[in-house]
C-alpha cells in the first residue's frame, strides 16, 4: 500500500512515497503510522483517499491513492 506525502512529512518519512503493509481502513493506517513515525503528530495534515479529504474512517482497498498533506507556511 503506497502513501504519498508532501512538505515537512517528506522529512519525517525520509521520502515522498512510502510503502506500508496493507491495512483495512484509514484509522488503522493512521494508528500504525503514528506508532512508526511519532513525529507526524507534530505537523498536522489532512489525509486524502483517491484525491478526496477523509474526515471519518474509510475502508481501504488495494490500488487506492493515499495522500498525507501537511500545511506549508512560507510566502
Amino acid at each position: 500500500m503506497d502513501i504519498q506525502v508532501f512538505g515537512r512529512l517528506t522529512e519525517v518519512f525520509g521520502a515522498d512515497k512510502i510503502t506500508v503493509d496493507p491495512v483495512n481502513d484509514t484509522d488503522s493506517l493512521l494508528k500504525k503510522l503514528r506508532q512508526d513515525y511519532p513525529a507526524i503528530g507534530e505537523t498536522g495534515f489532512i489525509i486524502a483517499v483517491d484525491k478526496k479529504q477523509v474526515r471519518e474512517n474509510v475502508q481501504l482497498s488495494p490500488g487506492m491513492m493515499i495522500v498525507l498533506m501537511p500545511p506549508f507556511s512560507g510566502g
Binding site: G7, S73, G74
Partner: protein
C-alpha cells in the same frame, strides 16, 4: 466607486470571449486586500494591478532584504532597506497609475484585521507565518469575506480559495477545515529556515491572482473547495477535494470581541518573552530594567507612573540599535506589538536573554494601578 478605464490598456483581455467590458468594469470597481508583499504578494500585486483591479490594499510591516530579491522581482537592488508596502506601491503605480493603491505598513493583528477586511471584497493571503494565516482565516470567516490562500515551502506550493459558498453548501470551506489548529511551534519551517526556489512563489502567486480575477469577473470556475499542490521538481500537480466540518467552525472566535482577545502569535509560536504586570513590578523593584513603550506618539493613556523610553513601532526597526545593552521590557497597548519588538531585538542581539514583553500591555498595567489605588 465607478471608475473609468482606458480600453486600450486592456485591449487584449477585452477582446476575449466571455470577458469584455463588463468584466473589466467589475475589475475596475473591485477592492482587493493583499496580505504580505513578499514572494507570493509580489506576483499577485503585479498581475492584479496590470489587469486593472481598481482598488488594492497592501499590508506588510517588513522591509526589503537582499535575500528577498531572488523571488520578489517587484523590488530593485536599490530598494533594500525600504518598507515593502510603500515600495511596492511606488513600483505598481509606475505600472498602472489608474489603480488606487493603499499601503499599510503596520502589522496585521487582532486589533485591525476586522475593520480592514470589512473595506475589501476579497482577501489574498500571501503571508509567511502560521499566526497570520490563522488570523486571516478567522477574520475572513467573521467578516464573511472570501480569501485566496497560497503557501510555499522549498520546492512545493499550495493554493486554495476559502470561504466561498458554491451554492449547495451553507458555508464555504475554510483553512481550519484542513488544519483545525496550528502545528506545534517550530515544527513546520518557513522560507527563512527551510529555503524556497525563487520561481515557485511566482507560479503560485500568479495562480492566486487568476483566482481573484475569476472571482471578481465571474468568468471561469474557481478552485473552491479544493487544495491544489504543485511539486516543481516533478511537475506534479495534485488537486484534492476538501470536505467541511461543523466542528471546525467552533474553533473560530464567535464575534469581534472574542476575536480581539485572541493571541494568534502566542498560539502559533508560544510566548517566550511574555511577563505579567506583576512580574514587571517585581523586576522594577529588584533590578535595573529599561521599559520601552512601542506605541505611536499620539497613543493614550500616557504612562505617568512608569518611566519609559518611547520608540514607536513605525520607526522601531531603524531606532532599535539605540536601545542600550541590558535588560529591557517592551510595552504597548495590549501586548501584541511589544511581543513583536521583543522578537526583533532578540533577532538583532542574537539572544533573547533579558528581553521581555509585558502581557496585556498598558491596559493591564492601568488595571493593576487602579486596583492598587482602590485597595
Amino acid at each position: 466607486m465607478s471608475k473609468s478605464f482606458s480600453p486600450e490598456r486592456y485591449q487584449r483581455q477585452l477582446i476575449l470571449d466571455k470577458f469584455g467590458m463588463a468584466a473589466q468594469q467589475k475589475l475596475s470597481e473591485s477592492r482587493v486586500l493583499v496580505i504580505g508583499a513578499g514572494g507570493l504578494g509580489c506576483p499577485v500585486l503585479s498581475y492584479l494591478v496590470a489587469a486593472g483591479v481598481g482598488n488594492i490594499g497592501i499590508v506588510d510591516d517588513d522591509v526589503i532584504a537582499i535575500h528577498n530579491l531572488h523571488r520578489q522581482p517587484l523590488y530593485d537592488t536599490k530598494d533594500v532597506g525600504k518598507l515593502k508596502a510603500l515600495t511596492a506601491r511606488e513600483h505598481l503605480l509606475d505600472l498602472n497609475p489608474s489603480v488606487h493603491i493603499e499601503a499599510i505598513t503596520s502589522r496585521l493583528d487582532e486589533s485591525n484585521a476586522l475593520s480592514l477586511f470589512a473595506r475589501f471584497d476579497i482577501i489574498v493571503d500571501g503571508s509567511d507565518n502560521f499566526a497570520t494565516r490563522y488570523l486571516v482565516n478567522d477574520a475572513a470567516v467573521l467578516t464573511g469575506k472570501p480569501f485566496v490562500y497560497g503557501a510555499v515551502t522549498q520546492y512545493e506550493g499550495q493554493l486554495a480559495v476559502f470561504n466561498v459558498t458554491s451554492g449547495q453548501e451553507v458555508q464555504g470551506i475554510h483553512y481550519r477545515d484542513l488544519f483545525p489548529e496550528p502545528p506545534a511551534p517550530g515544527k513546520i519551517l518557513n522560507c527563512a529556515e527551510a529555503g524556497v526556489i525563487g520561481v515557485l512563489p511566482g507560479i503560485i502567486g500568479i495562480m492566486m491572482a487568476a483566482e481573484v480575477i475569476k472571482f471578481i469577473s465571474g468568468v471561469g470556475k474557481m478552485l473552491t473547495g479544493k487544495l491544489l499542490t504543485l511539486n516543481i521538481l516533478t511537475n506534479q500537480w495534485l488537486e484534492l477535494e476538501l470536505v467541511s466540518s461543523e466542528k471546525t467552525r467552533s474553533l473560530i472566535p464567535k464575534d469581534a470581541e472574542s476575536f480581539a482577545r485572541m493571541r494568534y502569535e502566542d498560539l502559533c509560536n508560544g510566548n517566550s518573552y511574555g511577563i505579567s504586570v506583576n512580574e514587571l513590578k517585581k523586576m522594577l523593584a529588584d533590578e535595573s530594567i529599561l521599559i520601552v513603550d512601542v506605541r505611536e506618539v499620539d497613543e493614550v493613556p500616557e504612562m505617568e507612573d512608569l518611566k519609559t523610553l518611547r520608540i514607536p513601532m513605525s520607526i522601531f526597526k531603524e531606532k532599535m540599535s539605540g536601545i542600550p545593552v541590558g535588560k529591557v521590557a517592551f510595552i504597548c497597548q495590549s501586548g501584541i506589538r511589544s511581543r513583536r519588538a521583543a522578537e526583533m531585538l532578540a533577532d538583532a542581539r542574537h539572544s533573547g536573554e533579558g528581553i521581555f514583553s509585558v502581557n496585556g500591555g498598558v491596559v493591564k498595567w492601568m488595571d493593576s494601578q487602579n486596583k492598587a489605588a482602590h485597595v
